[in-house]
């Protein structure tokens, strides 16, 4: 199975288009998701995605019939079905269900804000959030994305990748996104932290995405051969954070990570 037979495939780095209508439809959805207001007209979309208006019109008709988008007068928005599909994805992840159960009965974590996230390229996507006592009220929601270099869970996740992949994603002179004065700015700085993270077994964020807030994170052993990379993080206020508290939270995070990675009855 290792040697996939590619006899005469004209691979040209740019992928061929087997079903272009689908690729285009996905581009339309992306454009809607990326737009500021989430409401675009046919002409807007046609311009944005680079598809003739008449073709775009047909695409939109089909997408609307599938309820993947909704027509609001002259404007289009994302459709309800996307919520269902996203929920179906999350519902299939046993880890998310176990995550909730564990957080409730945990001793330290049950009072904190805990999140589980998934690696997606150079971003993490938050899959679920547990808020014990809202000492720290997060503005982020399920499904939100965050660059890996700006959060503890992101660093914890890429720390597990092999060195070659990391080097490709973050060359030394890579310019990283910046949210606060403490945000890491170069690939070199990030990789230096990754070494430290591998040694100590957990990741740390010190006001790199939000001033006044610190995070701790660990990665979850991948369940099965093809599962996504999952990570766990705890958020705390820097003002009240103490190292003893931190080591206790890391301990419970690792316990949770272990139980998520090795399911049992």
């Amino acid at each position: 199975m290792a040697d996939s037979r590619t006899p005469a495939s004209p691979d040209k780095s740019g992928a061929a288009s087997p079903a272009p209508a689908v690729t285009r439809a996905a581009a339309v959805l992306d454009a809607l998701a990326a737009s500021a207001t989430g409401r675009l007209t046919l002409s807007d979309l046609s311009r944005e995605v680079g598809i003739p208006k008449s073709s775009t019109s047909n695409l939109l008709l089909a997408l609307e019939e599938a309820r993947l988008i909704t027509r609001q007068g002259a404007e289009f928005t994302l459709g309800r079905k996307l919520v269902e599909l996203g929920a179906a994805y999350l519902g299939r992840m046993d880890e998310v269900q176990e995550f909730y159960r564990y957080c409730e009965q945990a001793s330290v974590l049950s009072g904190e804000t805990v999140r589980i996230a998934m690696l997606d390229g150079t971003n993490v996507i938050y899959l679920a959030r547990y808020e014990g006592h809202p000492a720290v009220r997060l503005t982020s929601n399920i499904g939100d994305k965050m660059p890996v270099s700006l959060c503890a869970v992101g660093k914890a996740l890429i720390a597990r990748l092999n060195v070659h992949d990391i080097e490709e994603m973050f060359p030394d002179d890579a310019e990283l996104p910046v949210l606060t004065p403490k945000s890491l700015r170069t690939g070199a700085a990030l990789k230096a932290q990754l070494r430290q993270i591998r040694e100590q077994g957990y990741a740390f964020e010190d006001e790199e995405s939000t001033t006044g807030v610190v995070c701790l994170a660990v990665s979850v052993p991948t369940r099965g051969a093809h599962g996504p990379s999952l990570g766990l993080s705890v958020t705390a206020l820097k003002a009240t954070y103490t190292p003893e508290q931190g080591s206790q939270m890391v301990k419970e995070l690792k316990e949770l990570a272990h139980s998520l990675g090795n399911p049992m009855g």
Copy 2:
């Protein structure tokens, strides 16, 4: 399910198919979401959706490139991008953000399990959930669907529709889905309740979806001309429920509904 063996007429619901590849791709996603395990092979999908294998293969390739599905060895699952898109949809709804804020500072509701839901055909979809003190721990998650006849929020939402639409959706002899002995079983029974709901201004559920649990719900005034129909519900244990508590909760629900429907600074 409906095995239409029509050889050359892929028309669905009598309408022409402008971009059939998109409609088919959506059907593939639906099939994956509806399947028990969420993991189907190419042949499974081909059989399920009724598309030739070679065409299905092309569709899957395109869907995979768009990350709407993920290939796991020989099986396919829903893809990460669906979480992003679903989150983008929810993130655009100001009502969801306000919902969280209000629940935290509410006096009665802040201690209860409150949900906001959206009407989608004859189902409601839960968009967000606030759990003050987990007296009642719900098994439902964001994005889950529930038939309108089985939950208070569903009844509250269809009670606002015009009589003609209701009659079309629920003729007197319609057989409704049943979850408990108390579930409404006919369209006639449902419509009788709807009259009562319109009079008293809020909807009620008495162990119709889960034994031992009651719900109260109100509908949110639709914001703008094209917004979805939103509703709010509170869940309580029947054992501890009292009418006084109920009227207080309804009062706060209506207050929240009003503020969601009429945004201001």
